[in-house]
Symmetry: C2
Subunit: 422 residues, 2 copies
């Protein structure tokens, strides 16, 4: 228990940086607004958070977030930005995931000394790897379950998001299986509504997937959205398992850490983590969580996949942020012989064959799920050609051949470039 | 299932407001970026979200959040702010709390058409009141358990936040009980660390509280922080129950909706909801959740108390926001004969007797926990005088007598004003 938890933050403050960093360390460990009786030197030494490093980055004329105070009588404040590194003794909380979140990302967002406060990254001691089972399948397990090796899983999502019947959903799944898809997922809005009850959807879809697997020898992975209360998630998981499915999906932010931890304890299937709601925690650049920090909580809780948007996505996340998120998923959280807790990043949103080369260049890996909606369904020659165009593009990426050159001898890719390239 | 869920948002966009509102409704129900086959008129009619109302509020020259797009070729964009009211058919998700969060507060924060997106409030049909047990004790139950009527519960928090032993904690509790306190809570950083193991803390503290109750006839309510994995929370709850405690505390944001729902199902004690981490979702005024919206999720999950900061708090939340949060806790979510799901707001942070009058005037109610740290412990005549000063101040507030006038005949209050008034 002499080990330490460490974290880095982006801060903005009008106070001297060392003073501001000390406020963070105090508030998140032994201190409060004022010195209190009993906060002895020994107690601070044993239980206090420590400011390990402060790196000034720059400054602004106006505060990024409202409500921040500036030192009295110091003239027009200068709002300095800095990276602050703190550490905590593990003994304060032990290997507890919700208490880790409260310690690293609790009240400090409200501190009036700061006009910016964002958790950038964190590291936990090896004891967390022992206390939490972590990803059950991860990258290798997902490849084993889906039978896809040496390239990304080519995936898609059932649309319209909501409103299709189980039969209509299964018909779309049939077309996708016949088109050569590797991975399909429910939309996050599709759970267990009146018009597409969960169990019926699973029954109909799995019939199609198992039929196809018998013919093709490969079982398409379908991420069924089981998001719900704990008993619902468990029984839906069991239903998917009983019908031969390989993956369940949960909206991690809506379920929360305790829910996902419990799901992992129960699960025998890959857990596809959907990050809807993440934008509320991340979109203000001076507030909340960077994705590399945020996704670590869910890896510890035990998901196998997480969404990272994608290059040139239709949402508002910049490319470098998406790539940093994906890289962090592929980076071990612990050193051997502990499990590394690596998971599969899911690239989606406005994706088609055109992003494969750039994605591979940025990431240096094919360990990802590349999920395309229109990029597959709207291919001028149909779904099979859409899937083929993605496989072609990834082959081009891996072999280092420029996309236009590769397209000259690969018709599905050429037609995709014609249709979607601008 | 013909009933509807409704929600209101603060948005900012460079697109025409009706068009922007339609994008929100589409993304969060049947639509996606492009028209997809199968999104028939009948499906949209049955499952689509509806834009009920759009009210323009004003506009800005620059976007509040980065990453937003503006219409092509329309010159310098004007970033309009508006309140948008949407509704959804209940049939899409049924009475499911995590799916409600995904529907109301999921991917829409990432939509590139918006430079501002904040959930302001929502309403759910009565079927949610039947599906969720809601607050088990609420305001009346908290008063019954603590024996405090006709005035706020006067509360405090154990400090230093972390590092005290169970014995040291119990000694502080003894002083507080003898001083007449109604309510005590663990700090949110204090869970089950090496230096203050949970069960030992409960044993020592409850011994003091029960001894005091035997002498005084009133059992002080202590909110023990049980935040942890689900099995830990359940067994810690059971330990508090077995030792005669009346309240457990959980960090709601760190546990998540599924965890708190499960805790409520198991619990026989009042659940004190701690909102640490809320700042990350709320501090950017154009992003995330307003507290009146945010706290409703946790009321549905079943908490009995929630933190709202307080007037002139030491954090950065403005007074009007704190008061709006507290008011929303006291406002019924459902009409009779359904339970009203009202809960007790907890005023804290920089509180002392000086805020009682303003708090009562703003709230028009004494149904709250008024938690003071220094305002009690640092009273020049000791803890008992600190507690008395709070009781005095609330008597002044209720009787409409100005504080200075009331203080003239109430020594504890007078001494508090001397010490803390500026």
């Amino acid at each position: 228990m002499d080990e330490r938890i460490s974290a880095s933050y982006l801060i903005e403050t009008a106070f001297p940086l060392d003073e501001a960093a000390a406020v963070m360390a105090g508030e998140q460990s032994t201190g409060t607004f004022v010195a209190v009786p009993g906060e002895t030197a020994q107690l601070k030494q044993r239980n206090g958070a420590v400011v390990e490093r402060v790196v000034e980055l720059g400054w602004a004329d106006s505060p990024s977030l409202p409500g921040a105070r500036s030192p009295k009588g110091a003239g027009a404040p200068r709002w300095r930005q800095a990276e602050v590194h703190l550490s905590w003794p593990l003994r304060n909380i032990g290997p507890s995931l919700p208490n880790l979140m409260t310690t690293l990302a609790g009240n400090l967002y409200e501190l009036a000394q700061f006009s910016g406060m964002r958790l950038l990254d964190f590291e936990v001691p090896r004891v967390f790897a022992d206390a939490f089972a972590g990803p059950q399948f991860g990258i290798e397990g997902t490849r084993r379950l889906s039978g896809v090796h040496g390239r990304p899983l080519i995936g898609t999502i059932i649309k319209p998001s909501i409103g299709l019947s189980p039969e209509e959903t299964a018909r779309r799944v049939r077309d996708l299986c016949e088109g050569g898809i590797d991975f399909i997922k429910d939309d996050e809005l599709q759970s267990d509504g009146v018009d597409c009850p969960f169990e019926e959807r699973v029954d109909q879809v799995m019939q199609v997937i198992l039929d196809h697997a018998q013919r093709s020898g490969r079982k398409v992975m379908y991420a069924f959205n089981i998001t719900g209360d704990l008993d619902q998630m468990r029984s839906r998981h069991d239903h998917v398992l009983a019908r031969g499915g390989t993956c369940v999906m949960a909206s991690v932010q809506s379920c929360g850490l305790v829910g996902i931890t419990e799901l992992r304890r129960h699960s025998q299937l890959a857990i596809h983590g959907h990050r809807n709601g993440w934008g509320a925690l991340s979109r203000s650049p001076q507030l909340g969580f960077s994705t590399p920090a945020w996704q670590k909580f869910w890896r510890l809780a035990g998901i196998d996949h997480i969404h990272v948007n994608g290059i040139r996505n239709k949402f508002c996340e910049p490319d470098d942020s998406c790539v940093a998120s994906a890289r962090s998923c592929l980076t071990p959280m612990f050193e051997a012989p502990a499990k590394d807790f690596r998971i599969m990043p899911v690239f989606s949103s406005g994706q088609w064959a055109g992003q494969a080369v750039d994605t591979y260049e940025a990431l240096g890996s094919v360990d990802l799920i590349h999920a395309c909606g229109g990029g597959i369904a709207a291919h001028p020659d149909g779904i099979a050609a859409g899937v083929q165009s993605l496989r072609d593009a990834w082959e081009a990426a891996r072999s280092g051949v420029p996309l236009p050159q590769f397209a000259a001898t690969h018709r599905a890719l050429a037609r995709a470039v014609e249709a979607f390239g601008t």
